[in-house]
Symmetry: C2
Subunit: 308 residues, 2 copies
């Protein structure tokens, strides 16, 4: 089978740290172009805009969009209209409505569209899903606590309207929870703590209930100093499952059952190559839909100003 | 064909003003039960809870849910689990995630689920959709301005988290716009004016763009005194279409093309009867999805306290 000729749009930190190594390590892909206003990559054709690339004689089968979510929909729409398969970094869009439009557009044209949730490819996630599949869930507890000053230095966009605030990491927790729990869950109440000088929450407490009535509680915190937590604990009739380190380690009743090296983006590109080969799509907005539900239903509380 | 034996859940103002007359006027329905904690209706079996009705010997084919949206999902899920068709008043839920669950549940059981948007059955809407179908849209302008003190006296829930504020009427405008415009549209920015003593916006300005790049501007206002406006104007290559009075009157270039008596809920129940006969569903969350997008993406501005 011939290689998938791939263009990478956006060459920021996530593209360099994760996408480029994953693409280089997967021989089903050939990186044929970089689209970036400012940056370029030695040995790869460079274009300032996606329109320039599509108007060029560089042949492209698929486009991976690593730009920030705000201007992603016009780019994705342009790529699909030109007959290209599309991979979307998380979150898949600035709004749910635009992702639904992309889903319909890709389906109508028989193209692959992939909404990516990299945390779902953390080492413990697939075994956690398999273990939970036949268990009775009693309660779920999600703790996602990190120090924004350490992990997001200078990222002022995160505090603006649409920037998601603490939901930027929190959506990773939701992407894991929606992947491992055997039943869907729904928000019943939320409190969003918004600094008086910001638009987006710095802390959030979310109460969900699953389809069988089990409580799912999530606490997201951007002000955690000292030990950081990216943990999901699921109390079941057969013991307590715990995913820690963002899904990398899986414990059952305190015993380490599974861990492994980070291969999240290798997993994403493996899935994308399979989708393209099968002419299939994977469009799952459930993590972003939970975030939108939290903004829709959540009670806002004014928090002290955030000064980096 | 035998009649659809219908139970009405919730017997508030909207049920008495709209649902009961529409059901009485449609001979495909037989009202067999009322579920309401406090209210009852002479000559119709009464139950305090839906569970009581479902455990009784009153045979029911379908349930129409007119309760407030917050506790609607458990009721709808209970009805579907008992094999009943379900009609949902607008908005169809407190969150998007729970409506998606109902959609999947109804589909798995071969039951009818209908998300109702009554404004779509206003007299001018169907002819507006037909007229716009082959026109090039240049710009859309939505003005939805009403006096909350006149139309929602004492409805304090509207100001609480999840109460939607000015989006409670505004979602009607969005339900019409999503029905008549030939292309989907997506939010690019929004400003939400939230009174300092409330959780929900009292005014909102929304900027959308449609799939071909045409601007769609919506202004919702709860503080309009004097003349009230529920208008949608669509500038096209063949003239300006205007829907006024909440969709009841249709004008082309200022000339009245269509008006008629209010028959919104007759239209809803007609559609529900057809869906049940065809074993089909109509689950469209697009108006609520736009509202969730506005809460997700919108910039909040503090407005003066609202004192009724």
């Amino acid at each position: 089978m011939s290689k998938i000729r791939l263009a990478l749009v956006g060459l920021g930190k996530i593209a360099r740290d994760q996408h480029l190594p994953a693409i280089a390590a997967d021989d089903r892909f050939e990186l044929v172009a970089i689209v970036s206003r400012n940056a370029d990559l030695e040995g790869v054709a460079h274009f300032t805009t996606l329109a320039d690339l599509l108007a060029s004689d560089v042949a492209v089968d698929a486009v991976s969009l690593c730009t920030p979510p705000q201007p992603r929909h016009p780019l994705a729409h342009l790529a699909l209209a030109a007959g290209k398969h599309v991979m979307l970094e998380k979150p898949p869009g600035a709004t749910l409505s635009e992702v639904e439009d992309l889903r319909l557009t890709a389906a109508a044209r028989g193209l692959t569209l992939q909404t990516t949730w990299h945390s779902r490819y953390a080492q413990g996630v697939a075994p956690a899903r398999a273990w939970l599949a036949d268990k009775a869930i009693k309660a779920v507890r999600i703790d996602w606590r990190e120090d924004v000053r350490v992990w997001h230095p200078g990222q002022t966009w995160i505090w603006e309207a649409g920037g998601l605030g603490v939901f930027d990491p929190g959506i990773n927790a939701l992407s894991i929870a929606t992947a491992i729990l055997p039943r869907p869950f729904f928000l019943t109440g939320a409190v969003l703590h918004v600094p008086e000088n910001c638009q987006s929450p710095i802390q959030a407490e979310l109460d969900f209930v699953d389809a069988a009535g089990a409580p799912v509680r999530a606490e997201f915190d951007f002000l955690q100093t000292g030990p950081q937590s990216w943990d999901i604990a699921v109390e079941t009739d057969a013991g307590v499952l715990k995913l820690s380190h963002g899904g990398a380690k899986l414990f059952i009743d305190g015993e380490l059952l599974h861990e492994g090296p980070d291969a999240e983006y290798a997993g994403l590109y493996d899935a994308f190559a399979r989708l393209v080969a099968d002419a299939a799509s994977d469009v799952d907005v459930s993590p972003l839909r939970h975030v939108a539900d939290a903004f829709l239903l959540g009670r806002r509380v004014v928090a002290p100003a955030f000064i980096e």
